[in-house]
Each structure stands twice: as C-alpha cells, then as structure tokens.
Symmetry: C2
Subunit: 332 residues, 2 copies
C-alpha cells in the first residue's frame, strides 16, 4: 500500500508528483501554480466563506470528509443567498496516510463539485509528522455571487414571520457517532450530507424576500434558532411535533440521552419568511430533492426577547438554550 | 492559564464566546455568520489562492505562524500580479492550546493585515482532541485583483530574459530550523517573513511586461527556478556569486551540510523580465524595503531545455535539480 511521506509536503519532486498525479486531475486546476484567475463573474455582490473539516471518522455512513468539505462550504454560501461558483481546497495530511484513501476523498470532492456546478480552482497540500494530525484535515473556502435584491440577514426578521425546516433532523451527527463508536442501527442511519444550493436558488426564485436562511450544522437546530433569536432580538417558538426526527435518530437519542435538536445536520436548512409567503414557499421547496419534507415548524413573536421556546407534543413549553460545549465533538 | 477546550470548537456557547471575544475583534468581521459579502471590487480579473500553515515551532525568530499565514498567502497573490484585498482564516486548534498564545497569533495576523491593507473577512475555528493536531494549524485563502494588461506566466519566458532575485536567501528556513533544534546563532538569523505586495505593485507600475514572478518558499530558490525551467521549456543559468547568502545562513548550512539554494524563504521573490527592462526594474525594486538588495542573478537560454545551471564562483557549472523531498520539513 502506498503511503503519504513527509517528502510529499515539502516542495520537492515528490510533492510535484503528488499534485500532478492525484490532486490536479481531480479538480479543475489548469496549472499547479499558487494562484488561480477566475473567469468572468456574474453580476452581483461577491460572497466568501471558509470552513475546516476535521471530522472523525473520515468515512461514515452516507459520505466522507471529501463530500462534506465540498457540501459544507457550498451550503454556507447557499444559505447566505449566494450562488456558489468556486472553491479552494487545502489539505493537511498525516504521514503514513494511504494514498488510496486520498484518492477516494479526492474523487468524492470532484464528483460533488461537478454535480453542484462549482469549480475547485486552487489547492495546497501539507504533510505533518505521524501523530501530529488525525489522518487528514481539509479546509475549503468558497466564492459565490449574491444577486441584486437578495438580502439575507437575521436583522430582517419581524414578529409574525414563519419558521420553515427543510427536512428531518439529526442524521449526520448520529451516523458519525455510530461509526465512531462501532454502533450499528438497522436500518442504518445515513448522514444527510447534501448540497443545498439548488434548493436555495429555487426558494429565491420564488420570493426574494426571504428574511434569513441557515444550515443547522454544529450545535443543531436548537443552536441555530437561538443564534437567530439573539441576532434579531425576538422570540422564536417552535412546535416539537412539527420537527421530523427519523426513527433511527430517535432511537439513538433515546438510548444515549441525546437531544435530536442539538445534533449536527449537513443537508437541511432553516428559513424564516414573511407569514404570507410561507405556504407557497414550502410547496415550492417540496419540489426539490433537498426539500421534500419541508414544513412550517414555528413562528416569530416580539417577546420574550432573544428566546427560543419549544411547545412540546404534550402541550408544555420549554426554553431552548445553547449547550455550553456540544453533545458530540468533531462531527464536521 | 486559560486553555482551549473541545467545547470551544463545537458550535455551542463556548465557541460563540471564543469567536466573539478573541477572533472577530482581531479581524474586520462585521458578523459572526458564516459568509461575508465583499465590497465593490476594483476592475480586473479576480485571483484566488489558498495555503495551510503547519509550521513547527509556531513562534520563531522574526515571526510566528500568524504573521506567516497572512504574508504567505498575500505573497502568493502578489507574485501572480494581483493586488491582495481579502483573506479568509480557518483555525484548527489542539485541545489544551493556551488562549494567550492564540491571542498573540491573532494579534500578529491583525497587525500584518492592517499594514498590508487586506481585510480578513471570514473565519472558522475547529478544535481537535489533544494529540490529534500539533498545537495550531492555520489555513488562509486570499482574493485579489489583477489589473488589465498584467500577464504573469512562465509561458511568457523567452531566451535572453534576465532573472532577478529580490534579496538574500535562506533566512526563514534556517531561523525555523534553529528554533526547532535549540541552536542559536550570534547574531541570530531572523526569518525574512514579509509581505511582497508593495514591491510587486511597484514593479508592475514600472513595467507591465514582467514575464513571471515567484516567491521561493518550500524547496527554495533552486526548486522555484527548476519549476520555471520546466514550465517554460527553457534553460535558466544563474551565477552563484550573485546570490546573496547571509553569514548566519552560510554558517548554518556549512555546519549542517545544507544547500542554501534549497532553504525556504518567506520574503523574497524571483522575477524574470525582458533583458532591456532588467536594469531599470532592479533600480526601482531597490527603492522598496523588500527589494533593497535586488540583483540580476542569471539569464534564460534556449538549451538545454528544462534545465537550471549554476555557474559556481570557481568557474564550474553544476546542474540544479529538485530534491526528492526536502532538507527541512514543516518550515511553513
């Protein structure tokens, strides 16, 4: 089995060979130079984001770190209202990492980028000594364009607005946790890792007056809602029985004492929209693969300020706060 | 001493606090959201680059990983002919890393960005378990603009062109190596880590017909020249006695059996230009702090193709090739 050596990250012939034979062919790179020139940009404001992926394990039911590193950054752009166009990719690889695994990860990234319609245009590879990294870390930065008239911000949220959730919660975090701990469910819980850019473009084509969109990754739906309540200064109330929790996620959470609202997702979004537009938007979202089970889960009110309330199925009301840390570390 | 905990990277309250109290204030971030919108871009083509910094040790004579992560990416843009405008920053931090060190690194980044005139507009922080990273890794991606009329490419190199080196070689690699191994020189060898964007903008204001510029980082001057010879299909011959090797670098190299031409630099560049423009360009470069000791070190000929030749001080000729790996790993 061929393995990564320190020399693969050192600027010499081994590194050139690694980039030429493995990395550049997987992506749209026209040269191995350090900077890439973008083609003409469509009109609009340019949006930029970055994310590092340190997930353990790197292969999990439903995806791998490569797919995640493309979808995660594309989704950050998508929920900001941008059309994703370009990605950069920086690899930090531990000495001794199998080249066959690198090839698989690069293949996932390349296939995801093709499907999404983004180009990976610049890359960097560093190799660190054995024991100085956990197999492979990937950073991607994303560049996209926000069309004129789109204005996505929690400051736009108003009392009366409706809260939409695009799909079931908890699949990514539970699938990673299961793989990490050697637990298996029947049927298996697959990560929901999936690009959201088609869904968000469809939503923006329906109405440009979406107040805000967010993908509830680290910290889950609860943390994202709490961020939105804090940033808007308003109160968000959701109906517990409107939030779809898949059977496998529910079972794992019951067993392990986890709350599905805090589990990471990688293929769903929360949108807050004007009351009058909510029903039509949900209908339109359901036409997209990533929004099949979109549903209104709650609404925005004036008070209590900066608060998230959960109406339980039994009619109780519970305050939803951020966790101090997280239930499950390193799930993205 | 306050330390980084796993919870700082998990999306919950601890992470929000870390970002709000440490990371966002150091940079130009207007929000803690995932995507940033750029201001109006000046006319020209957009250039993009990315680099991960895994240097060990993270503090070294003349700089630290923070300064390096800003200058390195700025320099990649600068030598591609771009004016650097924006950076993103992704942090991977090992559990137990002192918050005071993080603060120092963020301060270096912020000060460097201010001095250079770039904005750090988007960030990401991940925390990994103790032993799963080497203290801190930083990825930066850079966005800049290349003015119309600037065309930097090794394909533009022609026989007769002159090769310019902007300053002395080997300081970064030797300073890091010394720090890593507890060796001290008197006077100490300081890293040359420094932004090159003012120098390259000055050069492009003098003549837009610069064929190519490169910063000889990993693999040093020798590797960069070999890349340029390969990419252009031509021969580059340099005069050994024109390449300035500082006394401390020379001493360290003699002692340890290293070749200064292969040692990493972080504050110099190689430029290849038309013969007739070389003298005037060197004169102009010397007016800039980063180009004080710019000098013509060689020339380009037709044959032997894809070859770098070194004329030694004693009149011999030696073929310069890439190393397989590198003399010193993890110097950037």
């Amino acid at each position: 089995m061929e393995l990564i050596h320190l020399g693969h990250g050192s600027g010499g012939r081994m590194m050139h060979q690694l980039v030429r034979e493995y990395i550049a062919p997987a992506f749209a790179m026209t040269s191995l130079n350090d900077s890439a020139l973008l083609g003409d940009m469509p009109p609009g404001r340019i949006a930029v984001t970055t994310d590092s992926y340190v997930i353990s394990p790197i292969f999990f039911p439903g995806g791998d770190i490569g797919l995640l590193s493309v979808c995660g950054t594309v989704n950050d752009l998508a929920v900001s209202g941008a059309r994703p166009l370009y990605l950069t990719a920086g690899f930090i690889i531990e000495e001794g990492f199998p080249l066959s695994d690198l090839k698989k990860i690069l293949g996932s990234m390349s296939a995801a980028a093709d499907r999404i319609g983004v180009k990976i245009i610049a890359g960097d590879t560093k190799v660190v000594d054995r024991g100085k990294a956990d197999r492979i870390f990937i950073n991607t930065a994303g560049i996209g364009v926000v069309e004129d008239g789109v204005d996505i911000s929690p400051l736009n949220i108003r009392p009366g607005d409706r809260v939409i959730l695009s799909g079931p919660v908890g699949r990514h975090g539970i699938s990673v946790m299961a793989e990490r701990n050697g637990i298996s469910f029947d049927p298996p819980v697959l990560s929901d890792v999936w690009p959201l850019n088609r869904l968000t473009q469809r939503m923006l084509a329906t109405t440009k007056s979406i107040r805000v969109m967010r993908d509830p990754t680290r910290g889950g739906v609860a943390t994202t809602l709490k961020e939105l309540a804090n940033d808007s200064g308003l109160c968000i109330t959701i109906q517990e029985d409107q939030v779809e929790v898949p059977g496998g996620v529910r079972g794992a959470c019951d067993l392990l004492g986890l709350d599905p609202l805090y589990i990471a997702n990688e293929g769903i979004l929360i949108a807050i929209v004007e009351r009058d537009k909510a029903d039509a938007l949900v209908e339109e979202m359901r036409r997209d693969e990533a929004g099949r089970s979109a549903v209104i889960i709650g609404e925005v009110t004036e008070a209590p300020a900066r608060t998230v309330l959960l109406k339980t199925a039994l009619g109780g009301i519970r305050i939803v706060d951020m966790l101090a840390g997280d239930q499950l570390p390193r799930i993205c």
